[in-house]
Symmetry: C2
Subunit: 144 residues, 2 copies
């Protein structure tokens, strides 16, 4: 380990990654989106499918942005960041999306909401996403 | 770093954690379940709620296992493990569940399926979950 990442430093790094994620999504530029991931990255989407490796993540997202997400718009509502250690950070992003289309067996509301976690690895200013998981939010009260 | 974890070693460690997760769930022993998490752990449940810290994870799960999950039975179908570095491992667990009850606004099928990721930190035989996210699987075909 040659660098020491501070809590403030990692907040700025992750904020820049999240901005790039959101901008790439909204331009439907899935090359730029996928370039944020490590070659061996894992990705679990909102319907529980597990994609393995940057090439698969890119291919799936290209297809989705030609179809159901072609008019979608993503917004990061809030981001919580935690350093797991000097070279690993965990981010939880509450997001909203409009303009997505559903599929047979999968209805989406006009305003989608969800929670995405990103696991980032890196040092200095060079951080990449090595794992992502996305979960659609369902508004409900948990029982006590 | 004083130890070097091998791919084989981490498979056995994570397998033991997953067995404990499943056994604790099926005994509805949420003290044992929560004891697997670090004090600062994050947990995103299948409806996108983000819980922070072991005490909150424990309290929520105690309530759920008194109510909608009191007759639920969890099974780990398959587990994929990847070492992120010497002290961090990532597991993806495909799971099935029977006996869970739904809630107003949240219907659950008789046989639930999902994907849970666990981020584990540790060394040697002492590994704990520092982040978990769960996503319910929806059976559908992605568009090409």
């Amino acid at each position: 380990m040659t660098s020491t990442m501070t809590a403030t430093g990692i907040d700025a790094v992750v904020s820049a990654v999240v901005t790039t994620v959101v901008d790439a999504w909204n331009r439907h530029d899935m090359k730029a989106y996928s370039a944020l991931f490590t070659e061996d990255a894992d990705f679990v989407n909102v319907v529980g499918m597990h994609f393995r490796g940057r090439p698969q993540i890119e291919a799936v997202h290209i297809d989705l942005h030609r179809t159901i997400f072609k008019n979608s718009n993503l917004r990061a509502v809030s981001t919580a960041v935690r350093l797991v250690n000097d070279q690993i950070a965990l981010a939880h992003i509450a997001w909203e999306m409009t303009g997505a289309e559903g599929l047979p067996g999968w209805n989406v509301p006009e305003l989608r909401k969800g929670m995405m976690s990103l696991l980032l690895v890196g040092s200095g200013d060079r951080w990449l996403i090595t794992a992502a998981q996305n979960t659609e939010s369902v508004p409900l009260e948990l029982p006590k």
